[in-house]
Amino acid sequence: MIHPVDILLILVLLSVLFAFASSRLPVLIRILAFQGVVVSIVPFFLEHEMTAGGIIFTTATLTIRGIIIPWSFYSMIKKMGIKREVETIVSYNASVFASLLLIVAAPMLSHKFNMISFSGGTLITSTAITLVVAGMFLLMARRNAIAMVLGYIMMENGIYLIGTALSSGAQHIVEFGILLDVLAGVMIMAIMLQSIKQKYDNLDTAQLSKLKE
């Protein structure tokens, strides 16, 4: 029988494919919100005891990851009036192909990390690796600054997954630390994006190279 965690993780992997194929910002944000929600509920299905504190932490994570961050992005693009396509460096088809390759290659890799001995599904390490590398790929392959930030969030989801898998005792403290980092990072990026927007009237990071000497 398929472990429930594995089902969730397959959803996550599918969301990566969707994210790479989506050409519009609102769609991308929604996919990332979905991914955040799915990733945050993984701890509920892992077979360790959920303490009251654990439940609170996980719920908080869920709220921030699934609601607050996507919503802030949503309102940001609404305020700036951007609904345009996400300009690419690597085309959508090539991106999807690359992510497929990555999803295939990641399980081979996860055998290298033999340290994981938890009772959950078998896919958790490979999904985490996929998310980290795919997030980085998104950072590299998209010109739009918001898409780049979303890539960063995807990377962070992967790190969260690894954290969930590795730290069984003090996991919530670690996770919450990561979460606060992300929140701060997103806020800083939001401020920077607004200034880029004000200065150059769009969010193409290629404009930033004008700042060079």
């Binding site: 290659a105 980290v132 590398v133 980085m136 392959a141 990071t205 190279s209």
Partner: protein, 652 residues
């Protein structure tokens, strides 16, 4: 050991406190100078105490679980600690009046920070007991001195000099690191002690690599190129510390490697003697050809490094040929010269610093007649010049004489050792003579005669904090020269830490010989002074007419008639023409009413010239081909990171 770390703590405090006080310029300087100099004094007393203690002190701190930072103070370390603390102490005092622009308050505070870091890292380098500790503090030393060199960063030459220094010190560090890497690879231990078990060929490779690396810090020809650029660019008290002690840390490194390898191949001594002869002779020839006073002092440092290397080489030849007396004389002589050179070279740099500060020019030929306006500076500079030329009864003579004696012991050896000892003696004599010519040029042109430019007329000296260190250093020169026993015992303590495995050596005849020569010279000087006093008394009642120097009996002499430094040095530099090509610029005098003409010359350093064509151009060519990697857009960089992660994850 606690006292040692306490002194370092006080010195670092003297570097950090000024940063907080930079709004109050004088208070900041007072705090910085007091704290740094107090720390240096504590360190100085402690290291003197350590030097004469029979046992060594060791301490070790765990760092990051992977390795430990460990320190040992043995005789050799303690011997090098003495000049480090002493010269830094005086340089700190000197800086109080030297750094006197309140507009640059923050920069001055930062300069104190790096100065304290430089002192602390130098002391920690010479006490480091394993290669990690050594390398860590070696890097801090190089970096902090780089920041001190670029103090006047708004000048383009200073930035260039700083860059050159940066490149050289890091290329040197790379060579040292590769030597250490080999040591670690074959012995498996981070400690210096582990190096004794290496195979012989590895020892030779390690020593040659380390020699090149440490030589680039010590200013050994042809790795000296940074030195004549960085020293003029740095503030004078920094030049004094860099030239007086920092470049000696390179010598310490060579000695430490020699001790650690514990391998007495004749090759090592031969390399050192030959390198020493080349840098000694070329250093002094280039010094003679310079027109910038601090550049000339920098080349003179190269020359003195050559003398020290000759001494070390003689010591190593003595060791490999089983002649302990020659070995001890060579090592002790070069250690003595390390100490003595740190004294008179810092004195000369401080003197040059005052001259430059007061007249605003570096050029020797633009000065003149300063002895009348700056009596203390002139007298101390004269004493330093006599000492650096190795004349008795001053201290420069003592170290050089021991090296000579060691060389004479080597004349009895066979073939190559015989030839090298003989050549070492001859080149020491040549170096001594040329150094004398070089310093008579400087003293004669800068301090004697009449002022050659407007700025030299207005010079004065009022700041006591700049004069006191110079007077102290100048007083030490004759004291050490006439009573060399104390410093000689210090040097012997340093040599005994080399573990040469000799028994008791009868040094006292050599010490007595040196003392006798020095004291005879001192008596001779005393007689000269008595005669001068007698003359003064006898002529008191008579009329004495004074006219301008170099007046030559003309009724209307002008300052342009004076002998210049360049013309004085010309006959000697002409002799060394193959290595001192002069770039001259002089429109010929033509016609009955010739137009105004000028003459300028510039001696090019042969190493600098060949470094450009042999080394710099190929490197630049290669790296030019890699320029496309830098795109200036963020996405390729993220792509590089991604590529690195993928390769690391999937293929490693």
């Amino acid at each position: 050991m606690e006292a040692f770390f306490f002194s370092i703590g006080v010195i670092i405090a003297g570097g950090t406190l000024p940063l907080m006080l930079h709004r109050h310029f004088t208070l900041m300087k007072t705090v910085g100078v007091l704290s740094i100099s107090a720390g240096c004094l504590i360190g100085l007393t402690n290291s003197l105490f350590q030097l004469f203690r029979p046992e060594t002190d060791a301490v070790s701190f765990k760092y990051l679980h992977a390795f430990s930072l460990s320190f040992v103070i043995d005789g050799l370390s303690a011997f090098f600690l003495v000049p480090v603390f002493f010269v830094s102490f005086l340089a700190a005092l000197y800086s109080f009046h030297y750094l006197n622009t309140p507009e640059k308050s923050f920069r001055t505070a930062a300069s104190y920070l790096f100065f304290s870091l430089l002192i602390a890292s130098m002391t920690l380098v010479v006490t480091a007991a394993n290669i990690i500790t050594f390398m860590l503090f070696w890097e801090i030393m190089s970096l902090s001195s780089f920041f001190l060199v670029v103090y006047d960063y708004h000048k383009i030459e200073t930035r260039k000099a700083g860059y050159l220094y940066f490149v050289f010190s890091h290329a040197g560090a790379m060579l040292i690191l590769s030597a250490f890497g080999l040591m670690y690879g074959f012995s498996g231990s981070f400690g210096f002690d582990g190096a004794a078990i290496l195979p012989e060929w590895v020892k030779i490779v390690v020593f040659v690599l380390a020699f090149a690396g440490f030589g680039s810090k010590a200013g050994v020809f042809p790795f000296h190129v940074w030195l004549p650029h960085a020293h003029p660019a740095a503030p004078s008290h920094i030049s004094a510390v860099m030239s007086g002690v920092m470049i000696k840390i390179g010598i310490y490194g060579i000695l430490r490697m020699y001790v650690a390898l514990n391998y007495h191949a004749p090759l090592f001594g031969e390399i050192l003697v030959i390198a020493g002869m080349i840098s000694g002779i070329l250093g002094v020839v280039y010094a003679l050809a310079q027109q910038d006073i601090k550049r000339m002092l920098a080349y003179s440092s190269i020359e003195n490094m050559g003398i020290i290397l000759i001494g070390l080489g003689i010591g190593m030849i003595g060791m490999s040929s089983g002649n302990p007396l020659m070995a001890v004389l060579g090592f002790a002589g070069s250690l003595l010269h390390v100490l003595n050179h740190s004294i008179f070279k810092s004195l000369l740099f401080m003197g040059a610093g005052i001259v430059i500060k007061k007249t605003g020019t570096h050029s020797i030929d633009a000065l003149g007649g300063l002895m009348k306006k700056m009596r203390i500076t002139g007298m101390t500079f004269l004493i330093g010049s006599l000492a650096i030329s190795g004349l008795p009864p001053l201290n420069g003579f003592v170290g050089e004489f021991f090296i000579y004696l060691g060389g004479f012991k080597g004349v009895g050896l066979d073939k190559l050792s015989f030839v090298l000892s003989l050549m070492a003696i001859i080149s020491l004599a040549v170096i001594g003579g040329l150094a004398l010519a070089c310093f008579t040029k400087v003293v004669g042109v800068v301090f004697q005669g009449e002022p050659r430019s407007e700025s030299a007329v207005k010079a004065d000296e009022k700041e006591p904090m700049m004069l006191i260190p110079m007077v102290v250093l100048a007083a030490l020169c004759p004291i050490i020269g006439v009573f060399p026993k104390a410093v000689f015992l210090m040097a012997i303590r340093g040599v005994s830490a080399l573990n040469l495995g000799y028994g008791r050596i009868p040094f006292s005849p050599f010490l007595e010989m040196t003392e006798n020569i020095s004291q005879a010279a001192a008596v001779f000087l005393l007689i000269v002074f008595c005669m001068l006093a007698l003359r003064f008394f006898l002529y008191r009642q008579k009329t004495i007419t004074r006219t301008g120097t170099w007046g030559c009996g003309f009724t209307r002499p002008t300052v342009k008639m004076q002998y210049t430094g360049s013309s004085y040095a010309r006959s000697i530099t002409d002799f060394f023409k193959p290595v001192t090509a002069l770039n001259e610029d002089h429109p010929a005098v033509q016609g009955v009413f010739p137009a105004k003409t000028y003459y300028s010359s510039h001696a090019r350093d042969i190493a600098e010239r060949y470094m450009e064509s042999v080394f710099v151009h190929p490197v630049l060519f290669f790296f030019d081909k890699l320029r496309w990697i830098q795109q200036g857009d963020i996405h390729p960089y993220i792509g590089y990171i991604l590529l690195a992660i993928v390769i690391l994850l999937f293929f490693v």
